[in-house]
Amino acid sequence: MAGSSARDDEFTDYVSARSAWLRQVAFLLCGDWHGADELLQVAVTRLYLNWSRVRAVENPDGYARTVLVNAYLAERRSSWVRRVIPFTGDEERPAADGDLDGVLDLRRALADLPPRQRAVLVLRYYCDLSVEETAVTLRCSQGNVKSQSARGIDRLRRMLHPRAEEVSS
């Protein structure tokens, strides 16, 4: 029991310390805070189930992030997504000191991306992973990460700056 208790304490400490960060990643992936909480719950449960493995890895944050992304992609493939209420733009407000319109536009644009493209962009540009690290996380080739990034950014550009292409042509 002592071992189990120590394990639980260690797990609780880790989740307490990292849940805010994981929740932000989950939010960027799924686009709303309620969905992020559901995703976080799934991911943290999986972390507990595999805690001995988490303890053994050099980079537990990387492991947790991978679990979260896999949970997100699995959820998108399942019927769960049909229960998610589409983003309407008025659920939460951006932090007051930021660019309100820009942030809301980005949120809408991200919501319109296919899940895998979105995951690639979040890992590359929010989590600051390299192409190689992103490929390892998503278990795909580096070329695939590059092509998904390019297509994702292309699409965001068209959604965020529909007139920019005319200007630059």
Binding site: F27, D37, G102, V103, L106, G143, K146, I153, A164
Partner: protein, 308 residues
């Protein structure tokens, strides 16, 4: 203003700082739920294994039953890259046609030069009486393509070209539906150009010529992905080919070919091209010796890429 990596990273950081409701995560409840699952997992290990197989099979069935059929794919034959549909006529501004195929999606794209150059994606959908139409979209009749029914798929029933991101779907052999997705269209009459491109698309499986030959690739290796970017991923003036192979025991091989020198080891240069091999579980130097580069003139490229 364009969106670059720094803009996107900054935007995401700001988005993640959005005012959030209180977190609903209950760590104690998570632990209790996980413990129950661990107990069930132990008790039902054998049954769980059988169920897992069932889930896996169901997953495959879902994938195979999907709406989209592939437009290009990998092949374990002589040529690792085969196309099931191909562009014919293309506007002069188009620099080349790229193929990206493998486990993570199959894509065929033609593009013009520059960051905002025209993009044309080719796709195929399963046979059906009517074209596939996503929720919230409308199929507007378009002039027939090669005498077959064709439709513009759009979010706005008053705008067939969908605000400049146009989707044209037309029926082809066997009742399937081909799709041309175009954007950054600079042509004077984009609808007419898209219809002409569609009319030139040919349906049928054919190998894509590649700029190398590999004599005696280990038989245990299977190709998993091929990325043939023409023009290059970030450079309009060049191209790059990457072939990914996997084998038993975690063996993996990546072969990259380009007119440009690439980082990597071992690499070799010949006929104006450069090739690099990255391998695990296979001797990369031996594999490199088996590769013949065919030069930059694509008339010399081959569909007999892998020979015994």
């Amino acid at each position: 203003m364009t969106l670059d990596a720094d803009d996107l990273a900054a935007g995401m950081r700001e988005l993640a700082r959005t005012d959030a409701p209180p977190m609903r995560l209950d760590v104690a409840a998570v632990r209790a739920k996980a413990r129950r699952r661990l107990r069930r997992r132990t008790a039902a290990k054998v049954v769980g294994g059988i169920l897992a197989c069932g889930v896996l099979l169901a997953g495959v069935a879902v994938v195979n039953g999907g709406d989209e059929v592939t437009v290009a794919s990998v092949s374990q034959g002589d040529d690792p890259l085969v196309a099931h549909a191909a562009f014919g006529w293309l506007p002069e501004s188009v620099l080349g046609v790229s193929h990206v195929v493998g486990a993570h999606g199959d894509q065929v794209m033609a593009r013009s030069g520059g960051e905002w150059g025209m993009r044309l994606w080719l796709a195929m959908h399963e046979a059906a009486d009517d074209p596939p139409v996503e929720d919230g979209r409308t199929a507007l009749p378009a002039p027939p393509v090669n005498g077959r029914r064709a439709y513009w798929i759009t979010k706005d029933a008053g705008d067939p070209l969908n605000g400049g991101e146009a989707f044209l779907r037309w029926q082809v052999t066997g009742g399937r539906w081909a799709e041309l997705h175009g954007y950054y269209l600079k042509e004077a009459d984009p609808a007419a150009v898209l219809l002409r491109i569609a009319a030139g698309v040919t349906i049928g499986t054919r190998p894509v010529p590649l700029p190398l030959r590999i004599d005696g690739l280990p038989e245990s290796l299977d190709v998993t992905e091929v990325h043939f970017w023409r023009p290059g991923f970030t450079d309009d003036t060049t191209w790059e080919l990457a072939m990914f192979y996997a084998g038993p025991g975690g063996a993996s091989v990546t072969i990259q070919v380009s007119p440009l020198k690439m980082p990597g080891n071992p690499c070799r240069s010949a006929a104006g091209l450069h090739v690099c091999v990255d391998a695990k579980g296979v001797d990369p130097d031996d594999l490199l010796r088996r590769i013949t580069l065919l030069g930059a003139d694509e008339r010399r490229w081959t569909t007999q890429v892998v020979t015994p």
